[in-house]
């Protein structure tokens, strides 16, 4: 590098504020030093290398970064990593069945072509997992409202809505 562009040594600004965070992600314990301003999504993606959760807007509207914190959906772009100390996080990587096969909801999304580029998919899956858990027999309108905080530019939502309804009926049929 030529001299004007290189780092001028000898300056000592404020040291970053580092904290330790311990949490469980998809059932696995993690503990790491993290700068206090780090968002949860950056922590998941770049520190833990769980890159399945996506960032679409970083301002809390698109929903691509949605994860579950202790079973409740939350925007990981608007949450700091230090806020989830001791929490149980679920991301898209933790949604398949224990044997690695697709969950009922994941399978339904594929059958109903509920994903194209797949970028909104992590947020759709986490949002709908929570929703179907709490609303086992939803109406179409309820499904639409449930995912109205998740933007998808590809699918026009129809395949996602149908997949959620299909998954709900299959889950109900599985229940004793």
């Amino acid at each position: 590098m030529n001299s004007p562009a290189v780092h001028a040594a000898g300056v000592t600004p404020n040291a970053p504020d580092m904290r330790r965070v311990s949490l469980r992600v998809n059932g696995k314990p993690y503990s790491a030093e993290v700068e206090s301003r780090t968002t949860l999504v950056d922590f998941l993606r770049h520190s833990l290398l769980l890159t399945g959760t996506h960032v679409g807007c970083e301002h809390g509207v698109c929903g691509a970064c949605t994860i579950l914190i202790d079973g409740r959906s939350a925007r990981s772009c608007l949450t700091l990593a230090v806020q989830v100390e001791g929490c149980d996080i679920t991301t898209i990587e933790g949604l398949a069945n224990a044997d690695g096969s697709l969950s009922i909801l994941q399978q339904a999304l594929s059958e109903k072509h509920g994903l194209q580029c797949g970028f909104c998919t992590p947020g759709m899956l986490t949002t709908l997992s929570e929703f179907l858990r709490d609303h086992p027999a939803p109406s179409e309108q309820q499904v639409r409202e449930a995912i109205s905080g998740n933007l998808c530019r590809c699918t026009g939502y129809q395949g996602i809505v149908e997949a959620a309804l299909l998954a709900a009926s299959r889950i109900a049929a599985d229940r004793p």
């Binding site: 590098m1 030529n2 004007p4 562009a5 290189v6 780092h7 001028a8 300056v11 000592t12 600004p13 950056d42 769980l50 890159t51 399945g52 959760t53 996506h54 960032v55 679409g56 807007c57 970083e58 301002h59 509207v61 698109c62 691509a64 991301t91 898209i92 990587e93 398949a96 697709l102 994941q106 999304l109 594929s110 059958e111 109903k112 072509h113 994903l115 194209q116 580029c117 797949g118 970028f119 909104c120 992590p122 899956l125 499904v143 639409r144 409202e145 109205s148 905080g149 998740n150 933007l151 998808c152 530019r153 590809c154 699918t155 026009g156 939502y157 129809q158 395949g159 996602i160 149908e162």
Partner: protein, 804 residues
């Protein structure tokens, strides 16, 4: 979706034409996709751009000392730091003599910024956080210059100039005409009615959910430069890199991994592409840059700001005699893609109608905004909006049913192939290849029960509800050439690989191409690995836009797979001792009839029809074909079980369709509730109906956003005011209805698949049909004649008009 998805075709059915579940899904559903930002390379630096806060300014100086003093900052680059070759402008992709000042991006601004967000300097740091901290510490001294925001005002003599180097803002103009337009408008010669109006459509970015994402790595030991990009045209990216870095073409590799949506916005080679590649070379470290959403609002290319002054002449039977129009295109600050968008827009106007004469004046205007380049639909939504709206106005003026006026003017099936009169962007006359437009319109009207609407409207009115109905037609040139190639290769494992330069942004091209290949080789798609968009995989390519991939790459895959099939048969015949038949050149000739009778391809083996126990696997054949020392190939068989084809269509093919909508308007809020949305379309032969339906449904959603939600607002200084998803509204699941679809399949005679392409037809007429239906719902709510002329038609504008 109406097609019931399956993992494989029903017994006795081919892969092509079946609604097959996608190969892509499993990884994406389990968080195992590979998007650019998922890649972490050792030693990687993170980039952040210092951007102009002004729409137009001169750069007087840049002070980067405070930024450089921040620990973790590696460099702050400006134009003067770039390698010599990168200090010129990015080449214009499609230069056109009609552009007087074909200005394109600088890699970093040289001494003038021309839109808000124009990159001025690039910070490279150990993390994105530090890079953003440092970005705020770079001080740029600007001399603010007057900016132009509005294309019509930009043409006024006293208007400020968008660039210091141009004499005025008219960047280019073009006249196109055919037929005798003067006669068409002459009352003495039969022009019974003339209808006039001016229409406007607003711009917005593509807004794929994944922002632009770039990563470059330079290996100084080998000179290799590898560039991972969330893109749409890998080989075009490569061309630009070679030019801007003056690089050895054999040492540049561009890869598009999983891409989170494109819709046009990722086709462009932007300033940031050049800057990221240059920075990797200058620093010797991998460099990653991920756009944030605000940057997408400011700097990703946008589309649709156009003003259409259109006149329509009709005879006393309401038959179109001619169209005259002046179209003003807001091009923004630069010309990355020449004038392709306005060109497509105006040539789309005649659509499915017989228009005997036309005259077009096209004015292309510089403004201080992010450049206008194709966004899903690429000019066609504007052309269709102008034509369909003026037809609605004509119907209103003549007291004729909107569907009947259209019916009288449609091109008839016996007129196919039909020459419109224009030359298209591929240099060939616009010539519709196939389709039955009257049947298409009729099927949409039947589906939505056009005849029964008056009764439904009256019944709703009795309950105090306002219903409207509308239809809109389009014809879309797709499958643009000149080519997109494919290589099909049987590997020594027995698996089959397909390589193509085409990239995918969610369309499911891997599945589609695998289906085409599977039928030819008698295997399941799970036996096929598709490698998209890697310039190391295939030597030439163009990219994914203009709904061109199935026609071009699909046909190439078909032809290459056929050639590989012939090779498999010939080699197997030799190995199995099948009686010699004249084989000719099995590498090129397609099916070999004698061998086809004796042998069959089943589950990855070639076996004797007469004795299915005797066969030889693809794996064994591939090992032989890839050379066994000392083994001689049988006559007519060449090395390797592979073939590459670059299918080149003779001309574009033409899809068509009709959208019909029934909706309810709330006059108090301007809110719209769509009750039914019908799309009848002809996209030629469908390779995978499931995926086509996904394209149509998603395309309609995009068009609905354009129709009444998405509004990119700039102030008079060209400062963007809508730069978050809270200000600029994308359609949500509660806004988009289920689209009812009718597929008509007129195979295109222009390619061996009969395909046409389906990526944009959902978007193209959506704004026209929604605005027409809103107008229909509210027509009797105002004392005067109601005619809406803009897209979007925001709810608050509806309310304002009702109380005007």
């Amino acid at each position: 979706m109406t097609a019931a998805a399956r993992p494989s075709p029903e017994p006795g059915h081919a892969w092509v034409g079946s609604p097959i579940q996608r190969l892509e899904d499993h990884a994406l559903l389990t968080g195992q996709g590979h998007f650019v930002d998922d890649l972490h390379l050792p030693g990687m630096l993170h980039a952040c751009f210092v951007r102009s806060p002004h729409a137009h300014a001169r750069i007087r100086g840049i002070d980067r000392q405070r930024a450089l003093a921040l620990p973790g900052v590696h460099a702050v680059l400006t134009w003067a730091d770039l390698p010599e070759a990168a200090r010129k402008r990015v080449p214009v992709l499609l230069p056109n003599p009609a552009i007087r000042d074909p200005l394109n991006y600088w890699v970093l601004a040289k001494d003038e910024v021309v839109y808000v967000g124009d990159p001025v300097a690039m910070v490279l740091a150990e993390s994105r956080y530090i890079a953003e901290d440092a970005e705020a510490l770079v001080e740029v001294d600007y001399e603010v210059l007057p900016a132009v925001s509005h294309a019509l005002e930009a043409l006024q003599p006293a208007a400020p100039r968008a660039h210091l180097s141009v004499q005025d803002n008219l960047a280019g103009k073009l006249n196109m005409a055919y037929g005798d337009v003067a006669a068409a408008f002459d009352p003495a010669q039969g022009a019974a009615h003339v209808v006039r109006e001016t229409y406007w459509q607003n711009r917005g970015a593509a807004h794929a959910m994944e922002p632009r994402s770039y990563l470059a790595r330079h290996d100084p030991a080998t000179g290799e430069l590898t560039y991972w990009k969330a893109g749409q045209a890998p080989h075009l990216d490569r061309k630009n890199i070679i030019e801007l870095l003056d690089w050895n073409p054999e040492k540049v590799r561009v890869i598009h991994p999983d891409v989170g949506g494109g819709f046009g916005g990722k086709t462009i080679f932007y300033s940031e592409d050049g800057a990221v590649c240059a920075a990797a070379v200058l620093t010797g470290r991998p460099v990653k840059w991920i756009e944030d959403r605000r940057e997408h609002f400011l700097t990703a290319t946008q589309e649709r700001d156009q003003w259409w002054e259109i006149e329509l002449a009709l005879d006393d039977q309401a038959r179109i005699r001619g169209v005259r129009l002046v179209m003003t295109h807001d091009n923004g600050a630069y010309f990355p893609w020449g004038i392709i968008t306005p060109y497509i827009a105006v040539t789309t106007v005649p659509g499915p109608y017989v228009v005997p004469a036309m005259d077009i004046d096209l004015r292309i205007v510089h403004t201080n905004k992010s450049p206008a380049t194709p966004v899903r639909g690429a000019g066609r939504p504007q052309g269709v909006f102008a034509m369909e709206r003026i037809l609605d106005k004509a119907a209103q003026q003549l007291g004729l049913d909107r569907a009947e006026l259209r019916r009288r003017n449609l091109v008839q099936p016996e007129q196919m192939p039909y020459s419109v009169g224009f030359i298209y962007r591929d240099g060939k006359p616009v010539r519709y290849d196939s389709g039955d437009y009257p049947a298409c319109q009729a099927s949409a009207l039947a589906a939505i029960d056009w005849q029964g609407f008056a009764q439904r409207k009256a019944a709703a009115r009795a309950e105090g509800r306002l219903l409207g109905i509308a239809l809109a037609n389009y014809v879309e040139g797709t499958g643009l050439g000149p080519f997109e190639g494919a290589t099909v290769r049987v590997q020594q494992t027995g698996r089959v690989s397909i390589f193509t330069g085409a990239s995918a942004q969610g369309q499911g091209h891997k599945t589609t191409l695998a289906q085409i290949c599977a039928d030819q080789l008698g295997i399941a798609i799970s036996q096929i690995d598709v490698v998209l968009a890697d310039t190391a995989g295939i030597s030439m390519g163009i990219g994914t836009f203009a709904s061109r991939i199935v026609v071009n790459a699909g046909s190439s895959t078909l032809l290459a797979a056929r050639a590989v099939r012939s090779k498999l048969l010939a080699l197997a015949a030799h190995e199995l001792g099948v009686a010699a038949v004249s084989m000719g050149d099995a590498g090129l000739s397609g099916a070999v009839p004698g061998l086809e009778q004796a042998l069959e391809l089943v589950d990855g083996s070639v076996r004797l029809r007469a004795d299915p126990q005797r066969g030889i696997s693809f794996a064994a054949l591939a090992r032989i074909a890839q050379a066994m020392p000392g083994f001689a190939f049988p006559e007519g068989v060449s090395a390797g079980l592979e073939d590459t084809q670059y299918f080149s269509p003779a001309q574009s093919t033409y899809c068509n369709g009709t959208h019909a909508v029934e909706l309810e308007v709330d006059p108090a809020s301007g809110g719209i509730r769509i009750l039914r949305y019908v799309v009848a379309h002809d996209s030629g032969k469908l390779i995978n109906p499931l995926l086509v339906e996904g394209q149509v449904q998603g395309g309609v959603a995009h068009g609905l956003g354009n129709a009444w939600l998405e509004y990119m607002h700039y102030d008079a200084q060209s400062q963007p005011l809508t730069t978050t998803f809270a200000d600029y509204l994308l359609p949500m699941a509660t806004d988009v209805p289920r689209v009812e679809m009718i597929h008509l399949e007129s195979p295109s005679p222009l390619n061996p698949l009969g395909a046409k392409g389906a990526g944009e037809g959902g978007t193209i007429p959506a704004a026209a049909v929604i605005v027409s239906a809103v107008e229909d719902a509210l027509a009797d709510q105002v004392a005067d004649r109601l005619h809406f002329t803009t897209s979007p038609l925001l709810p608050q504008w509806i309310v304002q008009r009702l109380h005007a």
